[in-house]
Amino acid sequence: MTRILGVLGLLVVLYTALIASDPNAGKPDNLISVANLQGRYGVVTLGAALVIIVGGIDLSLGAVVGCAAVLFGILMNDGVHPYAAVPLVILFGALVGFTNGLLITRLKVQPFLVTLCGMFIFRGVAQLLAQPMRGTVGMTSVIEAHREFNDPLRTLRYLLIGKAPTDGELLFPAQFILLIILAGVVGFFLHRTAYGRYWYAIGHSELAAKYAGVNVNRQRVSVYVVCSALGSLGGILLFLDAPSLQSNNAGYTWELYAILGAVLGGCSLRGGEGTAVGMVLGAMVLPVLENLVNFRGDKSDVIPVVIGLTLLFGAIVDELIRQRSRVHR
């Protein structure tokens, strides 16, 4: 519980500051658009957090998000029906995770290294894939090429993003709802099934899990599969929500946002710690902060500093609370 007190406090402060910054900031339609972004970050954060719980790290996540988004666009551009493209792209993500997992567990290459290389590789793959489209994919281009995809794409966007099929107005935070559903599933596995126990145990001490007869390698591989699959889902969401994407910057640095969300939400980078609720809360921080600086009208040059300092401040206070609570346990 104490693990999420800090992030909860940070969110309260940020929301308060947001609402205080402008009379319109607290209106439902603004909060919905914030929630929508939180949803997308959250989906990716869930994956990153699971990997962190088993004591790993996935730096390729952002590139996988971008690559999946581009792949989604290219597939449809080549005539694959949107409803078929979604599972294909998620399968692609799962394969990426599977490869990462095998390299990490069988060849014993450090996760940091494997996924750092993946970060370059999948960014490159995204750029190669998008080359025929001159590096840009977007929903309108797809629809222009395939008129028949107009309805399914708009339906998909309505369901997953919550944007009106007609003019793209954001009606409800579908991505956030999706996040809550996925977090529920992740939480269920993490806290209610034997698999979750294995993940915590592996993260804390791989040896302990091994001696308890857990198939450590299989568990780790499956977590990487889930992580990258969630990343590719994030890519699909990004494609559907964004007007258009550049293959060289779609999902850029998202792996760091995801790791940030996971750690703010109570995951320890040493592994073996973290809750589903915490992951959701952690992922909620950055979008509020981004919205806040938009509303405050900060100068571009100041924004990164404001975001960095706020997060740092939150992290320090959070850590202090955690240490206090640990002492007094």
Binding site: T193, R197, A201, Y211, G213, R329
Partner: protein, 503 residues
């Protein structure tokens, strides 16, 4: 004769550069408690790990109930009922006791979804805890919050929860209190009655005497002998283990002058997180002050306060009569007050680093020049202490984690001795150390004391306490319960340690 539960024939295992097992054989009957003793490095742990599927033998037969049994992993061995309780605890400390009891074999519903049946596990788990004498309210505590002894019992409880046929215990009592040890004996007796076989490894020969049906002794990776129940005596075991008699196990050649001055004086010391009652005692030049007490009596905490790990709130620490400000271990070390910690793997050594790295670590200032560490001087330092302490290591470059417990402990001594200690605080100086290395360490301590070093020795090993100490201070529930001089007896120590008064 019935089929043995386990038969190992001519097991052989080689590691790069070392033959760990060179044709070892043993048989284990159903319901038998077989103790395996030997110095560290004799091959006991390797043998047990082969039986439990952690290692695979290079050659030789392992037969379980008449069936060849070569397990590819601990999981496979566990499935066949062979459970190893490892010397280094293998619990997922971030999980609760219940979670650990059932880790890897959770009670689940929902088929492949494997949804946990928490109620069933809680019930069954509490039953297991009762069997090992742990209070049931521990079930939902996180393992990391338990004292070491209880963690050990949790591991044993975990093994009991399986369909265990052979239980292998590697130094199970090293962190248990006396009472917990008694419980363990009861558990073992219960297992025997249930026809479970037990392989028991311990350096505490008294325990072996108490609970083993039979002893086999290993030396240098070979069978060195076997003792039937009637022949199990301390001397017999030691003779087989070292291949010779140990005459002076506790040497104690030093003589403490009656009027020796106090080197370290602790006066009315209160430290953060400690008891409300201040502690006072002194350690004199050229003496070994033994400090006894039950696990949790606050001895380690007190030593940590003196060493600067814990924040001193009140009272003073005097070194040779001069007040000593200890704000951090660096202050203590600079003053010559050095600590050989209880948990050498965590606090005493940088395990993945080399022997040389560890020896150099506190001595870098002495061997550094403006151009970095003087290589020649450093090599000299390594050579000196590896030779003088007879550390068994291929070279100074060997990762210290690969050495046996006794040799690791010698490296901890070495890094401090190179500094020339004034006060040496020893917290469980020979825990997890084999008999041969123990004798060497005792000789070393005796030699230091003879040179005037003041030694403050915290130990839970009664033989060690009585054999080595010149004077004993007993702690009880965080406070100094009394002091014993002259003829030291176990009864007197225990009376004070359990809250009685000195007569």
């Amino acid at each position: 004769m019935t089929t043995p539960r386990l038969q190992v024939t001519d097991a052989r295992k080689e590691f790069p550069g070392v033959v760990a097992l060179d044709g070892v054989s043993l048989t284990l009957a159903p319901g038998e408690v077989l103790a395996i003793v030997g110095e560290n490095g004799a091959g006991k742990s390797t043998l047990m790990k082969i039986v439990a599927g952690v290692y695979q033998a290079d050659a030789g037969e392992v037969v379980l109930d008449g069936q060849p049994a070569h397990f590819a992993s601990p999981g496979a061995a566990a499935a066949a009922g062979v459970i190893l309780i490892h010397q280094e605890l293998n619990l997922a400390e971030n999980l609760t006791v219940i979670d650990n009891l059932f880790l890897g074999r959770e009670v689940t519903v929902g088929g492949g979804l494997r949804v946990l049946n928490r109620r069933a596990m809680a019930e069954r788990g509490k039953e297991l805890l009762t069997r090992v004498g742990l209070p049931v309210d521990r079930a939902f505590a996180k393992v990391e919050s338990l004292p070491p002894g209880e963690k050990q019992l949790v591991e044993i409880a975990r093994a009991l929860g399986t369909d265990v046929r052979i239980l292998i215990m590697d130094e199970p009592t090293s962190s248990l209190t006396q009472r917990e040890t008694e419980t363990l004996y009861e558990v073992i007796a219960g297992l025997k009655a249930a026809n479970v076989s037990v392989l028991y490894i311990s350096h505490r020969l008294a325990e072996v005497k108490q609970c083993a049906d039979r002893v086999i002794v290993l030396r240098d990776g070979r069978n060195a002998g076997e003792l039937a129940k009637a022949d199990i005596t301390h001397d017999n075991m030691v003779r087989l283990m070292v291949g010779r008699d140990l005459k002076q196990f506790y040497p104690k050649t030093h003589k403490t002058a009656a009027d020796a001055p106090a080197v370290l004086t602790v006066r009315n010391l209160l430290y953060r997180g400690g008891p409300d009652i201040p502690a006072s005692f002194e350690v004199r030049a050229g003496e070994i002050l033994g400090m006894a007490g039950l696990v949790g009596a606050g001895r380690t905490e007190l030593s940590e306060a003196v060493f600067g790990v814990r924040h001193v709130v009140e009272g003073e620490i005097l070194l040779n009569g001069q007040p000593l400000q200890v704000r951090s271990p660096a202050d203590a070390i600079a003053a010559g007050v050095l600590l050989v910690p209880e948990d050498r793997r965590l606090h005493g050594l940088v395990l993945p680093q080399s022997v040389g790295f560890n020896l150099s670590l506190p001595n870098l200032a002495q061997i550094s020049t403006p151009f970095g560490v003087a290589r020649a001087q450093e090599a000299e330092l390594h050579r000196t202490w590896i030779d003088r302490l007879r550390v068994k290591t291929p070279s100074a470059a060997q990762p210290v984690g690969l050495l046996s417990g006794g040799n690791q402990q010698k490296v901890v001594y070495g890094k401090w001795l190179a500094r020339g200690p004034k006060v040496l605080i020893l917290d469980e100086p020979t825990r997890g150390v084999d008999v041969g290395a123990k004798a060497e360490i005792y000789a070393l301590i005796d030699d230091l004391v003879g040179k005037g070093v003041a030694v403050w020795m915290i130990t839970s090993d009664m033989e060690e306490l009585l054999g080595m100490s010149d004077r004993v201070v007993v702690m009880h529930e965080g406070k100094v319960a009394g002091e014993l001089h002259g003829v030291l007896t176990e009864e007197a120590v225990m009376r004070l340690a359990t809250g009685g008064t000195a007569t």
